[in-house]
Subunit: 429 residues, 2 copies
């Protein structure tokens, strides 16, 4: 039989890949901890209708939906926000506000494969619920920047592009575009950078069915700053909100990382206010992260009215950026390898290893009887920092020889002091 | 709309549940690290045929199988071993032996719900590949005991029951039972403790179709020790292997945790040699963990012949045992809460919080303008250890007041020394 491959769009994480994944997740956890978020999670699949009503058309056609043996229609989760909203709704007002939650879900979308896009991927999700003020949007945008800094990125690597759905709504309605056209317009605007401009213009006209409206929209999309926007939009409430947001971001000391960008609308149907996306500086890649307000979602799932704002960063685009930065991780499988001179008696190696393990020290030894040369090969495969030699001449005097793999230095230590000595040596390494 | 529930057999992990899950996983990771295993993972679903040929009938009927939009027949993973074998097979001989891998997969089985059994659950998996000797079995059994000790359990809480499939095979064949009856017999033996004895006897006779054979089997199953077994089975090779395994376990210092139990066979079809299961001392619960040899699986997936042994422990039965031990976890959402006297200027709290966060300190503040009383409520909800008061009289002198929530003690610290002071105080707490 030929060895089968894993399903298309999924990944096998061999230990060297897993070390990178775990190291990114650890940095994500650290950011969330610093910013005062607590972790939650939901099931890997949900009842299909949780997604079909709220997430919007694009997500719907990407669902891994299936029927279980009890005739339930289920779907693998394509995003975590509906689960979050369901969980918050289920508790009514019992959860103390603000809710500050994060999660690192594994998600599934049946999409065309391309750079930065897989069918199975991970996200970092951060959400604040219970705060209607833009202070929560600012806090989350600051956290998204903190997340990038935690991974080693600087303002030369990425920018947070910020806009407001309400702003576009207010402006579109002000020039006379019908409310029923907003949702398809947002869908089109969200993919503007991914399609040729003539296709964009054709589809735009298809939606608004008016040269004047199409022209107004293109004019608005060319606006480069909030100040310019005021000259054509006047003093709209959503402009005030954005100004207040940027003032807060200045307090956070992150003004260099953020920019107003009227072109940001987000694809998902449930967004209601400020929206933002993180892009690499040269916009070579898909969005690194994106988020915004979804003040209606908890209510839509039967919960109390709960203002909410969140963001999600995927691991695939970030992985591309980290690869460009030559991000790598090499950790020992075992920090200590116990080699034995006396292969006839396994007790020497086993007892030494157990002593170290009981003290929390990472350790292995040969499970096969083999000569010292082969054992040293195994120590190298384990990426061990220290080798302890047991069962030799020194053993008779209650001592063991130790070799530091980095420089080959050797020393003799009394067995009774071995654990303390190794702990100390590893602390210093 | 009424708030929908999550799918049957799945769990919502609210932060207090997640804290327990993460804390168990952290202890699992720590055990694997101590024992010199490195982490891997595969996709959450595989091509259906990866399971339908190798895992055996019981797993097959529990699969969450579905067709994707590209007409592939897929299944959520019910166990990780087939993925492991596929990944090892795919690399041929490129992976250095021994392979010492672990993983904490999320798994799915459509089963009848009962105590200790859910449809979505987690496992710790540890495997050693490339070692045919029972030294690998001993290493894994020791690691499974180390895992239990890491969670706070002692020899009064659980026992590792050990047997050998080869032993039963050799004994069954020796009394004249046909080879074609072995697989159904193992299936029946695996569920012996879960069905009434008269049902067991009826099914046993149904398989062997001979009173003499049925009687021999019942006699064998009543054997209490390896020594007794020798008197009826003679000097079978598998008895020698078991004796050697128990001798090694004695070197590990874990003899008090292990017992020979001829009734252990394991449900999965791919096991080939020594098998073992961990049970709570009173056998009130389903198996805590189980494992054994599967020397043929990597070869069956097209890889080189690779002896292998592994074990898996589920989170649900362990969760029941931890609950009985009143295992609980309470961690702060934010270790530090920044309260402000001056609610008119958000800069005080934001800048203090950012300074702390940039130094790696977990921290939050009010995102709503509210009085100190409300802010102290939020500090309690965050389970903060320390509250820093900013924007008050002390600020004018470049100082801040600090309150320790545990005992109400207060002190004044210069702003310039704040980060160092807090780091120090948290280290001591």
């Amino acid at each position: 039989m030929q060895t089968p491959a894993g399903p298309k769009g999924t990944r096998d994480f061999y230990p060297e890949d897993m070390a990178i994944r775990e190291s990114v997740f650890a940095l994500w956890h650290a950011t969330c901890m610093r910013y005062g978020f607590e972790q939650y999670d939901g099931p890997m699949f949900e009842h299909l209708e949780l997604y079909t009503q709220k997430s919007g058309e694009e997500i719907e056609k990407q669902l891994y939906a299936f029927e279980d043996k009890g005739q339930r229609m289920l779907s693998l989760r394509p995003e975590l926000t509906p689960t979050l909203a369901r969980m918050v709704a289920a508790k009514g007002t019992a959860l103390k506000r603000p809710i500050r939650w994060y999660s690192i879900p594994r998600l599934f979308r049946y999409e065309k494969m391309q750079k930065g896009r897989l069918r199975e991927f991970f996200q970092l999700n951060l959400d604040i619920l219970g705060i209607a003020e833009e202070s929560a949007d600012a806090e989350l945008i600051a956290a998204s920047i903190g997340m990038m800094q935690g991974l080693g990125f600087t303002k030369d690597d990425f920018t947070v592009h910020i806009s407001s759905r309400t702003l576009l709504e207010e402006m579109f309605l002000a020039v006379g575009i019908g409310a029923e056209k907003l949702q398809p317009l947002f869908g089109l605007l969200d993919k503007r950078h991914k399609i040729p401009s003539e296709v964009f213009e054709r589809e735009l006209f298809g939606i608004v069915a008016s040269d004047i409206h199409a022209k107004s929209i293109c004019e608005m999309l060319n606006v480069a700053s909030l100040a310019d926007l005021k000259t054509i939009g006047g003093q709209l409430p959503s402009i005030n909100k954005l100004e207040s947001l940027f003032a807060l971001l200045d307090c956070y000391g992150v003004s260099d990382f953020v920019a107003f960008d009227i072109g940001i609308v987000r694809g998902l149907a449930y967004y209601t206010g400020i929206v933002f996306e993180l892009f690499d500086k040269n916009r070579n890649l898909r969005a690194i992260a994106g988020g915004g307000r979804y003040d209606k979602l908890v209510g839509l799932y039967g919960g109390p009215d709960t203002p909410a704002v969140g963001f999600a960063a995927g691991d695939v685009v970030l992985g591309e950026m980290l690869k460009e930065k030559h991000f790598s991780v090499s950790v020992p499988r075992s920090k200590v390898y116990v080699a034995t001179f006396d292969t006839s008696d396994p007790a020497f190696a086993i007892q030494t290893a157990q002593n170290l393990r009981n003290a929390g020290i990472s350790c292995e030894f040969s499970l096969k009887k083999c000569n010292l040369g082969k054992q040293m090969e195994q120590a190298n495969n384990a990426r061990a920092l220290i080798v302890i030699f047991v069962g030799g001449e020194e053993s008779k005097a209650g001592k063991v020889k130790i070799r530091f793999m980095k420089n080959g230095d050797e020393t003799i230590v009394a067995e009774a002091e071995l654990v303390a000595f190794i702990n100390d040596a590893l602390d210093k390494s």
